[in-house]
Symmetry: C2
Subunit: 160 residues, 2 copies
């Protein structure tokens, strides 16, 4: 019963979020995929709840400012979630193998960021494709907030 | 007005989650901090919503099984969120500097995992402490699901 409910919950959520198909093209080394997003305090509170990470730097303005920040910080791992989100939205069924992350500048609640992943190396892996991506996230004025590298197994190189 | 509402939302959430103080002790190299958690489908749906990562492997049992998995996968970055959560719960105000992640085995919805961070190197950094942690996450029978290394700046080495 619980399983049925859970499946319905997941399915209804999934169908409500299905992305529109765009013109198909094949991923090549050098290709860049981007996503622009602004994390709100509601996002940060929701992420705090699901991760149970209630570090006051994310939720308490005074605490963040006393620690020398301008405002509350978006959790670094929430910012980093943009990378697998970009990859899986274009390549549904992608499986993450690795991710390195260097947090270079704080991302504050309300900051607009542009996350981008660039395919660096693509090779055959069994019946799939093992792709290494350079990953980075930029704030206003192209300030680098976060960078690193990700590796994922893609079932297909056709971009959705 | 929106700011006030947002602050209230964050504060009320923060106070409801305040951790009980335990006996204080000082972090030393070699110390291990652990957390046990089982991610439910509700967690995965909530994380999908806040991250906008709706990869069907996380939400659709048939899709996950057709791709060769036993069940729906917990997002790797949600599993990885356990590491900063452990660190910040013991050291509120901790700031993440880096995290490397190797996803070695799938974590399925309903799997109990034990995440652990071990302090490897501790050095002074301005008025704070720069600590390198070995990070790993184990499934049943001590199967390694995820490992890597994290670096964080801690305002204090006193464990909460």
């Amino acid at each position: 019963m619980m399983g049925m409910l859970s499946n319905r919950l997941a399915s209804s959520f999934l169908s409500s979020y299905k992305l529109c198909s765009k013109a198909e093209s094949t991923l090549r080394a050098g290709d860049i995929l981007q996503l622009r997003r602004t994390f709100t305090i509601e996002d940060v509170v929701e992420y705090s709840r699901v991760s149970s990470d209630t570090n006051p730097l994310h939720l308490d303005t005074d605490c963040a400012q006393n620690a020398g920040f301008e405002d509350r910080l978006v959790h670094g791992m929430l910012v980093a979630s943009l990378f697998p989100r970009i990859i899986s939205s274009h390549f549904p069924g992608a499986v993450y193998v690795s991710q390195n992350l260097q947090f270079r500048q704080p991302v504050y609640v309300g900051d607009e960021v542009v996350a981008e992943v660039q395919a660096m190396n693509i090779r055959a892996f069994k019946k799939n494709h093992l792709v290494t991506f350079s990953t980075r996230c930029l704030k206003k004025d192209n300030v680098l907030a976060l960078d690193g590298e990700a590796t994922a197994i893609l079932p297909s190189l056709i971009k959705q």
